[in-house]
Point group: C2
Chain length 405, copies 2
């Protein structure tokens, strides 16, 4: 019997704890696993030997259920990047895992976390360490991982965005005066989240009227003329834009791009596209304009999770644990869509080296020719992912969350 360590990394999502619950649930059933340890704050918790005994901490079925519906990494997270020549850090991590008799390490995260999984498993291979299985479990609201049909966490964020656009359309439609509402949606380099705003129309509503993804160069003049056209037809124009839209030269449009402030991965912070464009529309068109940033609410609105996302996220956690016990190494658990109606996915695993440091963008063919909307194929891809509502437990008028430390 060996111990298992699980950790969470990167930006949190609403469903990332469901994957953790999947790991814990499966591990508890298997005799190969002794202790189930959660490392606090990603691999930093491993390096600092800060563990939570999850077997003890989460005993009841009700606790597991509550944890799976609690948004944002309950074990904490980090954005620590292990560079290719940082063999010392990698060696430290492996040494500590072995010191704690760990046979299975599961890292739940996005692109950068899969890079960590890749480096750790490559190190083990190189040093012929065969009794430590290192597995990646995906998550990212950005939906930009390759070799997976869609990413856990994305469906819940998409459901929040679709619902919010539906509600914003209701709000914006109340006045008879001409008005433009520009809503900025997360996504640095991939427009999946922005595209999901189109789902707000699925039951017959109008908005959003215009959708601009970061996959296409953003042409301000075309944007202004698109709005002018729409304003001829209707009073209220609702627009979705990706935070990461870039001009034809590839420069980010954001007014407040903070060049000198970057996170651990060297990404510059983006914000303020909606307010910048709102100013521009006010200047050029002169009507009432509002800029809205959905901000981190789109990744932590656990009260509005997609049941499909919840189930898949949990299952991927179980599969990650299963892979580890099967002796697999350096793989990411993944899912492949077999059918759309009825929707059906199969679970598989893929070599993590094929995932790390790649990015899946929206195919250009899923953006309409005029560049201001998405196609029917995009809707067909997105729609199954937001299906189903979760039974969130409320007490005193707000949801009950489960914390681990």
């Amino acid at each position: 019997m060996k111990n298992l360590v699980v950790a969470q990394s990167g930006g949190p999502t609403s469903a990332i704890n469901a994957t953790l619950v999947g790991v814990v649930t499966y591990a508890k059933k298997r005799k190969e696993i002794d202790k189930i340890l959660g490392a606090k704050y990603g691999i930093e918790g491993v390096l600092e030997e800060q563990f939570v005994d999850l077997g003890e901490r989460v005993q009841e079925e009700a606790d597991l259920e509550r944890l799976s519906l609690t948004p944002s990494s309950a074990l904490g997270s980090c954005r620590r990047k292990i560079t290719i020549d940082d063999e010392h850090t990698i060696a430290c991590i492996i040494t500590i895992l072995r010191k704690y008799h760990v046979g299975y390490f599961i890292y739940i995260g996005g692109n950068d976390s899969m890079d960590t999984v890749n480096k750790l498993s490559a190190y083990c291979k190189k040093h012929k360490i065969e009794d430590l299985q290192i597995i990646g479990a995906p998550k990212t609201i950005d939906n930009d991982l390759v070799h997976i049909d869609h990413c856990p966490g994305f469906g819940s964020a998409a459901k929040y965005i679709a619902t919010t656009f539906l509600e914003l359309e209701r709000d914006c439609a109340v006045y008879k005066t001409k008005a433009v509402t520009i809503v900025e949606v997360m996504g640095r380099n991939a427009g999946w989240l922005t595209a999901s705003s189109a789902l707000a129309r699925i039951n017959g509503a109008n908005g959003p009227d215009l959708i601009y993804l970061c996959e296409n160069p953003f042409v301000l003049n075309r944007f202004i003329s698109d709005i002018k056209e729409k304003l001829k037809e209707k009073n209220s124009v609702l627009i979705a834009v990706s935070e990461g839209i870039q001009d034809e030269e590839g420069n980010y449009l954001s007014a407040q791009k903070q060049k000198h402030q970057v996170d651990g991965f060297g990404h510059s912070y983006l914000s303020g596209v909606a307010s910048m464009l709102a100013e521009e529309v006010k200047r050029q068109i002169g009507c009432k304009v509002r800029g809205i940033e959905l901000n981190i609410m789109q990744r932590c609105s656990g009260h509005l999770m997609s049941k499909t996302d919840l189930i898949e996220s949990k299952t991927l956690g179980e599969k990650a644990c299963e892979c580890a016990i099967q002796g697999k190494n350096g793989v990411m658990v993944s899912l492949i869509r077999r059918k759309n109606s009825p929707y059906h996915v199969d679970y598989l695993d893929v070599p993590v080296e094929q995932v790390a440091n790649y990015e899946k963008k929206v195919p250009k063919t899923w953006i309409t020719e005029n560049g201001n909307d998405v196609t029917e194929e995009m809707i067909e891809y997105l729609l199954p992912l937001i299906q189903g509502e979760c039974e969130v437990e409320y007490k005193n008028g707000i949801p009950i969350h489960m914390t681990l430390f």
Copy 2:
């Protein structure tokens, strides 16, 4: 038998259609009322004779239920202010109402709408028009009307804010690095909505750590030192600020106060307090900072309505209709809290002239002495208002809304 006209005015809320449903439901039962007409876009719809036959449009019980759960004024709204010497407009409205054989006019709105009700009923009194009852039904997420315990629409906004702060706290807590998150909450002159962020703590969570209402002068140096103190204790500091905070000289702090752009009531638009303060914290403290604006999501998140608010909003609509049939004039239906546990309110009506153009601010005694939090009395006042969840109907993964035109 006479006809009834109902209209909605001012900023929309999540519960304003519940009041409309209350009016329609009650009116349908009463033999005194023939047609139930909805004026489009507030009194502008009366002036332009644009009516929806609500008796025909909303026939099924399921439609009424769906409409009550649809956020934002389904009849449309306006911000048209009738000035005191605009007797011509008032005369036009009255003439049109009489032309349509209207015996009952119910105006659902906030402070400014109650002013319209006041002017119309005063005109009727002055001109001895006794067969036209004019009644106000309150709504405002700002909770700033006098002679009412709390305002319909506020409870749902407060529930959204409390839930969102709970979720934001989860999100902000994931990293070990020092970070400050500043969340701007609606409220020009009254801090009720900002205060409701404190409800996020009701089940044991920590955040928000600091709360600044617009009732107190905002002192930047004290704000910075409050944050520094909190950062000594913990990594993530979550802060709620009213959009309308003012410095000691009474100037709005908003960086983007648009002096030249005012709405029909002469209010200047406010926005950008969170981002302005975030810049200041970055400059003075230097840690990671995020500014978040809850924006109009706080008034239109119909998927997260308070059941208590829904029931009260609907009942006030019924009571408004009852008052009209009883021959009352120039009153606003209201509610008074009799008990807190178990929570119980009674319904009454108050002369609208006592309501129009007054504003209810947060009592200074409900703000803590150091000015950065609210007291236990505030929590006791707020807590019953967010109780209960509504059974929102979902189709294709998003809520179903009901539109009237």
